[in-house]
Amino acid sequence: MVDLEKTFLFASIIACALSSIFHIYGWIFSKERLFSWGKGLIWLFLMLNTATIAARWHYQGHGPYITLYEVLLSNVWVATVFYLIFVSRRKEFNVIGVFAMPIILLSIGAVAMSPAEISRLTPSYKSIWLIAHVLFAKLTYGSILIATALSSTVILREYPDVEKLFFLKRLPEPERADLLSYRLIASALFFCSIMIISGSIWANQLWGKYWGWDPIEVWSLVSWLVYGLYLHLRFTCKFTGMRASFYVLAAFAVTVFSLFIMPFVFPTVHNSFMFRK
């Protein structure tokens, strides 16, 4: 079963890599057929990713939310589903796959590099609040991933020589992309709030305190503040367009740093098993 899981994982990496390449190549050189293959490969990638999760779930007996490997694996699944739902209703936004798929490829690459050791369900993980905590963390990740991809298109569309570089003209209208990015960040803040709140209720069940100043707790609040500030600026200072898009890119870097780098830097309760150094 472990071998089957590995086979599915590496097949999914190949599918994701091909999808990214076809997306980028098809977009730059206006090869519609290649671009379509890139889109089709996302579905194959999702199927293989689902099969990887299913195989692991079957032999471990619990969902993918304990080790870093499992968390990243399920993050990738949620982000891909999120992306597919998003573009299924907005065909003109298919082109953001050029940015979203490489980020997903990096994430699935990180999965392959994480220790895939077997994890067992300890009593502390048997909590409905943990499930809510992890689920909303994934929804936050999915929302900001698409918002970041949309903001990247805004920046590229505002490029001074956009008329010369014809492939940039295929990007969605910057005003629409900016507005959608704003909506997704508002959703991300809502999901992130639920993630922090459910995590604090879970912490209270475990340790009798809802806030323990753990580095990951603090850094998740930093991410929350960064996106909260974006919404506040948007409300009070008409913070739109290029400035807002650059801010979203920087905010994404802060989030990735908070969630995936900090656990390796500081001792935290979150790395008791999940982030083994």
Partner: protein, 307 residues
């Protein structure tokens, strides 16, 4: 002038940035004083109050979005109030208890105590640990862990189960598992003049502990290999040069010269915490209102407006 400054949304941005900087510092160093957060909370609360008041005053027609907007900003104030209440009222007592043993909720009986303000002396209730259930997966991770306890308040006995994810409530107290456990060998020292006895708590992480033997003032180290062990290894330093090292089973004795040390029992122990926190429910109320306000505001703005 001051009113104008306090109701400024630009000031909110500055305070937001300061709060962000403070959190980054705390995230980096873990040394930021609670007073720094309290110091920043004061202007933030004032700014929020003035902004909310100003927003209500200038709103001519009310709709759901406006209500949601006010609600999640007011919820911020409630969360800050809850956080400050917790900061001022939180106390935690840590007790190490062997299976079959008990402790009293009084400041003196705890092995560890933390309270920033106030002088909670304890309720005097007695908490007895009847059974410690600990089971492990084959890779050493905990499979099952809970305690059967009895709370005695002098009027009636209340039986309860403390789970890793489930506190036991008693009035305003919350009793939790502290997730520290191990073996506790019980020794009796007999000298020609007196007898003394007690447990030595060895944690499952270190599996060894140093202790001083009373009456004879020798230093000793005791260790075990596995939680199911019915024996311990002990090393007693008699002086700079001499020491005695033995593996002891229950009933075994060591002649220390100045006295006789006997291993009388080995029990499993675990840590329990007793917490008081008056701010928790205020914060939770703030959390709920915040989510409700945010959902109403952005829901109305983005999804239910028909645009």
């Amino acid at each position: 002038m001051l009113t104008e400054a306090l109701k400024s949304e630009k000031l909110t941005i500055v305070l937001f940035l300061l709060l962000l900087a403070l959190f980054v510092m705390e995230g980096e160093t873990q040394k930021v004083s609670g007073y720094a957060f309290l110091g920043l909370a004061a202007p933030l609360v004032l700014n929020l109050l003035f902004c909310v008041f100003h927003h209500i005053k200038r709103t001519k027609t009310w709709d759901m979005a406006q209500a949601g907007f006010i609600l999640f900003h007011v919820a911020f104030l409630i969360i800050i109030a809850g956080g400050i209440t917790t900061y001022l009222t939180y106390s935690i007592g840590y007790a190490e208890v062997v299976e079959g043993g008990s402790f009293t909720d009084s400041r003196e009986s705890y092995a560890g105590w933390k309270q920033r303000f106030g002088t909670r002396s304890g309720t005097g209730i007695n908490v007895a640990v009847r059974k410690i259930h600990l089971d492990f997966w084959e890779n050493g991770q905990i499979r099952e862990y809970f305690n059967n306890i009895v709370i005695r308040d002098g009027i009636k006995d209340q039986e309860a189960t403390v789970n890793v994810n489930g506190s036991v409530k008693y009035g305003s107290l919350l009793i939790n598992l502290a997730r520290y456990y191990g073996l506790a060998p019980h020794f009796r020292l007999t000298t020609p003049d007196a007898t003394n006895s007690g447990y030595v708590y060895i944690s499952s992480t270190a599996k060894t502990n140093n202790f001083a033997i009373p009456l004879v003032n020798y230093k000793a180290q005791v260790s075990y290999r596995d939680l199911t062990d019915r024996r311990v290894r002990i090393r007693v330093r008699l002086n700079e040069l001499d020491s005695i090292e033995r593996v002891m089973r229950i009933g075994d004795s060591i002649d220390l010269g100045a006295g006789k040390l006997t291993l009388t029992d080995i029990k499993i122990w675990n840590g329990l915490t007793v917490v008081t926190d008056s701010g928790k429910w205020i914060t939770y109320a703030g959390f709920s209102l915040f989510l409700l306000g945010l959902a109403i505001y952005y829901g109305t703005k983005f999804f239910w407006s028909g645009k």
